[in-house]
């Protein structure tokens, strides 16, 4: 029993794609072959884990793909696509994070950087974004989730990928969700999108944080606050207090003091230059700014990203295990393979249509009659022949059936004592012409010479007229003797 490789998320994704892809094509393979193959694997490598469906399926796939290395890279391709989309999200996020920071931290020395703007961008906007991506996860196809989805940057990126890199490839089909119509697929797509959005969010915040730290360390920044709304200082204090609540206990330096807030208010109009002393104290805002980005941006995004990873995994597992083909596969692996019948194909000889056959010469004089295997009751047969035909029977004999071979021999001898140009043999039309009977005819021929006509007279049950098909069978069989003077004739 080979050990099952520890499967990471990456491989579950790869496996799922590959397995579904394989099974779709497998549909065309003969059922018995599939049954045999899967049961073999079920009884072999995966025998001990048959009660764990996911593991069983993955184990099965290991066996299948081991047989054809390098053939199934659909999953691999998709992983790369997924990675590319992720990478694009990261790059885009980092750059936009840096860009936003650069824009917000623009400090020319005339006015300090406005903390209100920072709060608006890094607290309120971030929270709104996170909120909306949570809304996206609400079940159902509501107007809101649709509207939000079209704003979703992750979606846009993968859309771009779809339109550019992957046109008409099967991978796009997978991501665009047209290949599978189970709810599980839908769910997976949703979580994958969600996951990309979170990745982008993480990257954005990392970029912002990085930019902020760089700017704080390497340049001279001053923060202050100013609002066109007539914020009272006290109100602003309350706001700052609320915003910094999450880290108040852990990082007191990041909670601006009352004094700092009072000192750092500035008015754009009536520009009084901040004194150097004040300016220095104004830099004291930076821990607050960093803490804002951390707790309202990066941290929730990281949490959501990890949650989304878990859910993507779960959705993948559901997608795989809910698939009807996979259910059938498990069924094939777990249930005994029952084989009836023969693996060898025999094609029997079929009866041709009416074969050409010769008619006997008309019978003149009286002829001997042999009743083979009690084909009919002697007197009934004789009276029927007398009534319905011109044939005159000289003598009726019995052969075959219950008679012994010696008795048959004797019959031939006595019968040939009287010369006659024809010999009649009544047979049961419904019984097959056996070699036993054909032997008798051959013997008879040998004794009576080539000239005598031997006429087989097939009779239906109770002296009825023989069935056409049965007569054909008799004619067919009589050919085996290649006897030109042997005839099969149902009407005399």
């Amino acid at each position: 029993m080979p050990e099952i490789r520890e499967r990471s998320g990456r491989t579950l994704f790869e496996d799922t794609v590959n397995i579904l892809h394989f099974l779709e094509a497998d549909r065309a393979a003969p059922y018995a072959k599939r049954q045999h193959r899967d049961r073999q694997i079920g009884q072999g490598a995966c025998e001990n884990i048959l009660d764990q469906p996911l593991k069983t399926v993955q184990c099965w796939w290991q066996q299948i793909s081991a047989d054809r290395p390098g053939e199934h890279n659909e999953g691999n391709k998709l992983i790369r696509v997924r990675g590319l989309v992720g990478l694009a999200a990261v790059v885009f996020g980092l750059l936009s994070g840096l860009g936003v920071i650069a824009a917000v931290f623009q400090y020319d020395g005339s006015h300090p950087i406005n903390v209100v703007t920072l709060i608006a961008v890094f607290v309120i906007l971030q929270s709104v974004f996170i909120g909306t991506s949570l809304l996206m996860l609400l079940p159902g196809q509501n107007f809101l989730s649709r509207a939000l989805a079209s704003l979703n940057v992750g979606a846009m990126i993968s859309g771009i990928m779809h339109r550019t890199l992957l046109k008409s490839s099967s991978s796009s089909v997978f991501f665009m969700g047209t290949s599978d119509h189970t709810q599980a697929h839908n769910l997976l797509l949703r979580w994958q999108l969600f996951s990309w959005s979170q990745l982008l969010g993480c990257a954005f915040n990392t970029g912002a944080l990085l930019g902020a730290v760089l700017l704080i360390v390497f340049t001279d920044l001053a923060f202050g606050w100013s609002s066109t709304l007539m914020f009272e200082t006290v109100q602003f204090q309350k706001l700052i207090y609320l915003v910094s609540l999450p880290w108040a206990g852990i990082w007191p330096d990041a909670s601006p003091t009352q004094a700092l807030i009072e000192q750092s208010r500035f008015y754009r109009l009536g520009a009084e230059q901040a004194t150097p002393f004040i300016a220095q104290s104004l830099t004291a805002w930076w821990p607050f700014v960093v803490a804002c980005i951390l707790s309202y941006g990066l941290l929730p995004r990281v949490v959501l990203l990890s949650i989304s990873r878990v859910f993507v995994q779960r959705a993948l597992a559901t997608l795989l295990m809910d698939n009807p083909q996979v259910i059938s596969l498990l069924d094939r692996m777990r249930t005994p393979e029952v084989a009836l019948g023969s693996p060898v194909l025999i094609s029997p000889e079929m009866l041709l249509d009416e074969e050409p056959h010769a008619k006997p010469n008309s019978i003149s004089g009286s002829v001997p009659l042999i009743i083979w295997a009690d084909a009919a009751e002697r007197f009934q047969l004789l009276s029927r022949l007398e009534k319905d035909s011109s044939v005159q029977v000289s003598q009726a004999y019995k052969a075959g059936g219950a008679c012994s071979m010696a008795e048959d021999m004797e019959t031939i001898t006595t019968l040939l004592e009287k010369r006659s140009d024809s010999i009649l043999i009544a047979v049961k039309s419904w019984e097959p012409p056996l070699n036993d009977m054909l032997d008798f005819i051959a013997l008879l021929r040998q004794k009576c010479g080539d000239k005598t006509q031997i006429i087989l007279f097939p009779l239906g049950p109770d002296l009825s007229v023989a069935d056409q098909q049965e007569v054909r069978i008799w004619r067919h069989a009589s050919k085996r003797l290649s006897d030109a003077q042997l005839f099969v004739e149902p009407d005399l």
């Binding site: 059922y31 079209s150 779809h162 119509h181 084989a339 009836l340 019948g341 060898v344 097959p432 070699n435």
Partner: protein
């Protein structure tokens, strides 16, 4: 090895030996022919579970020179106890003699321990020529049963019984071409009575076969459910240069869609046929009879679709037009990918408008171009037509006797009775499931389970 029950099917030629084997072994390749003496060599048909043989049927040629053989045996016999030995001597002596090829072939497995199933035809009278055969079989001393096959009647069954009772411990009537699964299992049970040492193996075999039977139904139902889901969701699309519908492109997409659906149905029937063990049958022999009517034809729709009243009762008709033809099944829509809501730009047939935006369009982007979509087929009767055709096919093929060689004839009555065979509740449940698929282009796992169960009931 000797504990594996083996049964040699013997008898007069052309009495349905091979047909009985074909039925029991569910093997349509067994050489059955109206020409007597077609089976020249003994041929084994094992019943295997995971490669282990549970029992084995051996089709043998019929007796050709039983009289002569019996005389030879009688001459070589020294005492009653010597009979088996004298049979073995016969086989030795004539193993290479073409004259007794058939006799040797049929005796060999019996002398190696196989039980005997002696087949006669109850439609035809008993005759003295059978006696030597029966005597020879009696000489083997092997457990033996006689089966009275009914090739077109049973007038002579009692006459046969009287004769057979003399030589065989069990005499049963078994109609090779019309024996259903239950009758076959009953026959296997009778085999058990032949020899105690076979009991366990046959018991296991019967259990396995019965289990397999139930699974077969389930597997088939799953295949059909999958087919329904696939064809109901099937779409075709192609890129467009601008927002205007290219009619030529549209009609090519429509025919592509239809071809795909036909092909998928065909594939499903293939699998169903194979699940029923008709694997080696020339593909399409029966299907052509049943499914020659095109799935999209007016006739298919009128045969298999629900009537307007039936549709109205299930509520499926509301909002959709019932019982229509092709023109309403397909339509086109051009949409601007990724624009989200309101993406449908126009030229959309009424039936499609509501559904073109599905879940996945969120992946589209504003830089995307125009795409023409055709499908899915939205006629309310479409799934009923597919279901009806395929279920009917399954019913026929699953009860199809492996000894029959002619094609199935399907009357339109059997198609009509299909929609009648459902009760209100079944129709309602299915209708709701179809609606779910039609509207959401997907099915949840609960729905799938329910769909499979419904189909299973229909297939029974």
């Amino acid at each position: 090895m000797n504990s594996t029950p083996r049964f040699a099917i013997t008898g007069h030629p052309n009495k349905g030996k091979s047909s009985i084997v074909a039925t029991l072994a569910e093997d349509e390749t067994v050489g059955i022919s109206e020409i007597p003496g077609t089976t020249r060599d003994a041929h084994s048909y094992p019943m295997c579970m995971d490669g282990e043989t549970l029992y084995e049927l051996i089709d043998t040629p019929g007796f050709q020179r039983a009289r002569e053989m019996l005389e030879w045996l009688k001459n070589s016999e020294t005492s009653v106890a010597d009979r088996r030995a004298s049979l073995n001597r016969f086989i030795q002596e004539f193993a290479n003699d073409p004259r007794f090829h058939d006799e040797c072939e049929l005796l060999k497995p019996i002398m190696k321990g196989a039980g005997i199933l002696y087949v006669v035809d109850g439609a035809r009278p008993y005759g003295s020529e059978y006696e030597s055969e029966m005597q020879i079989l009696q000489w083997t001393g092997q457990p033996r049963m006689a089966l009275i096959n009914l090739i077109g009647g049973e007038e002579h069954v009692s006459e046969w019984r009287r004769a057979l009772d003399q030589y065989f411990s069990i005499v049963r009537v078994f109609d090779a071409q019309h024996a259903d699964f239950k009758k076959r299992i009953d026959l296997l049970r009778a085999f058990q009575a032949l020899d105690e040492s076979w009991f366990a193996s046959l018991d296991l075999a019967i259990g396995v076969l019965e289990e397999n039977r139930a699974q077969r139904l389930h597997r088939a139902a799953r295949e059909i459910a999958e087919l329904l889901l696939a064809v109901m969701c099937k779409r075709e699309s192609a890129q467009l240069d601008d927002e205007n519908i290219d009619l030529q492109l549209q009609s090519s997409l429509v025919s592509k869609l239809k071809d795909n659906i036909r092909e998928r149905e065909e594939q499903c029937c293939d699998v169903l046929q194979q699940i029923c063990g008709h694997t080696k049958l020339e593909r399409n022999i029966e299907r052509n009879q049943l499914l020659q009517e095109d799935i999209f034809s007016e006739r298919s729709f009128s045969l298999f679709g629900l009537s307007n009243t039936q549709l109205a009762i299930t509520g499926a008709a509301s909002g959709a037009v019932a019982g229509g033809g092709l023109d309403m099944m397909v339509g086109g829509a051009s949409l601007f990918l990724g624009a989200g809501i309101g993406a449908v730009v126009g030229g959309v047939s009424a039936i499609f408008a509501a559904r073109q935006i599905s879940d996945v369009e969120v992946l589209g982007s504003p830089i995307g171009g125009y795409e023409l979509h055709v499908g899915p087929v939205s006629d309310v009767n479409f799934p009923w037509v597919v279901l009806g055709r395929v279920v009917l096919f399954y019913r026929l093929v699953s009860e199809r006797n492996h000894a029959l060689r002619d094609a199935i004839a399907v009357s339109s009555e059997s198609a009509n009775s299909f929609s009648e065979s459902m009760n209100m509740k079944q129709r309602q449940v299915l209708s709701d499931l179809f609606k779910q698929i039609r509207e959401h282009q997907l099915i949840d796992s609960k729905g799938m389970v329910s769909l499979v169960r419904q189909i299973e009931n229909l297939c029974k």
